[in-house]
Symmetry: C2
């Protein structure tokens, strides 16, 4: 059910969490949340005529550069939830799009900060987006009370895993899908850890694209099991940086 917001500056969409979509805790996986974030951002941009269909005419596309998510809880099985999105800041280099996740009663259960850039699909270089002035005209004051992403510096891993990217990891640009990176990140923690904790804050930064059949090293610093740094490298290049803040579940 798409509810195009009467206020064009904001766009809301509601979803139903089916049993088949749930994680082992019978709640919304953060990977599905990431999918919804991309879907709602895409729909809002499309509603403005500055989405995929418009940009592809110039051989350009939106690319998600950074995502920061904070959740007090995740939607549970059989629950309706909504995402509302708006633009907080915009310049010729990037668009800063925020979101609010609400439960069926309208209670806000989380916030999201995203940074988007537009790239030339041939050169993969980011392009000036000041031409998309419609966006600049739609910056709003809607508050987003979560901290911007912290600087994710290199670190000394406590352990390193390896993974070779497969067909279903690859998106329609021929690169590893943002959601799949996140999936491999959360799979670095056993079921017991997810059973006892939930991800209360997640920061992820997409540094460089990764390709089919590349073998990645997943570097993990879990000295503090509630505040984890995790990078995905291929050879000596960093592809993804992330931080996961885990919070104990209430019994």
């Amino acid at each position: 059910m798409i509810e195009s917001n009467p206020n064009l500056k904001e766009y809301s969409q509601s979803f139903y969490l089916s049993a088949g979509e749930c994680n082992a805790q019978a709640e919304m996986p953060i990977t599905l949340l990431m999918n919804r974030i991309i879907e709602v951002a895409t729909n809002h941009a499309n509603s403005w005529g500055v989405g995929y269909a418009r940009l592809i005419e110039d051989n350009q596309g939106w690319v998600l550069s950074r995502v920061t998510i904070e959740m007090t809880r995740y939607p549970r099985v059989d629950e309706f939830y909504s995402l509302t999105t708006w633009i907080e800041d915009y310049n010729r280099h990037f668009s800063q799009r925020n979101m609010e996740i609400a439960d069926n009663d309208g209670n806000v259960i989380g916030y999201v900060r995203t940074i988007w850039v537009v790239i030339n699909l041939s050169t993969r270089e980011s392009v000036d987006i000041s031409k998309l002035s419609y966006i600049a005209a739609n910056v709003t004051e809607h508050p987003c009370p979560i901290e911007p992403q912290s600087r994710l510096r290199p670190f000394e891993p406590t352990r390193t895993e390896t993974y070779r990217f497969q067909y279903t990891d690859i998106d329609f640009n021929g690169h590893v899908n943002t959601v799949r990176y996140l999936e491999h990140i959360i799979n670095q923690f056993p079921w017991n850890h997810h059973r006892e904790n939930f991800i209360s804050r997640m920061e992820i930064s997409f540094v460089k694209e990764t390709y089919y059949d590349e073998e990645a090293q997943i570097l993990i610093d879990d000295n503090d099991p509630t505040n984890i740094r995790l990078d995905i490298n291929v050879g000596d290049t960093t592809r993804v940086r992330s931080r996961l803040i885990f919070q104990k579940r209430e019994k």
Copy 2:
């Protein structure tokens, strides 16, 4: 956008295929189609009051036993598509739910046959569902012109792969998610194979549940690369049987 069909016997739901959801061919992955099949079936059952919320009261749940999909093409990026579902047959053992996938112009691009059973969530045994008589009253004559699932017999593999199930493979029942099986199945074929062929028919049968951290053997018979048998075993028990019919893409 949910369009609850005026004819309660049928239920339709429309979706938008965002760029982020697409596979490397810029089309709907069969894994996402499987998610949509489960979502629409769940919503239809819920609309009748015989869905998850009702069954959980009796410590019961719907379980997908078999799925057969035939597609002439898959929805493409930025396209709207719809799933329409109805019950073809119903008895105390199982419910046979079919679906029709249509593009935004209403052209049917695929059909689905599914078999659902209800299990006791403690014993995992299937239960008599004749009490859900509302369903029996809603059997319709809507045609589904694809062959029922063939008998998937044991076979001699041409190759065998292994995979250990991880956290994101596990669903809210604590078992491997049906969609994840399918993902590991299609990952047994390289990108080139998917680039040149699409899955025109897929049969999958869920025989026995699989658990977190179990190591599976994936048995493949690809003597005929267009008609492939693939089973997922753990030890000497078969968990999933499948058949994939690949069709050359038009250049």
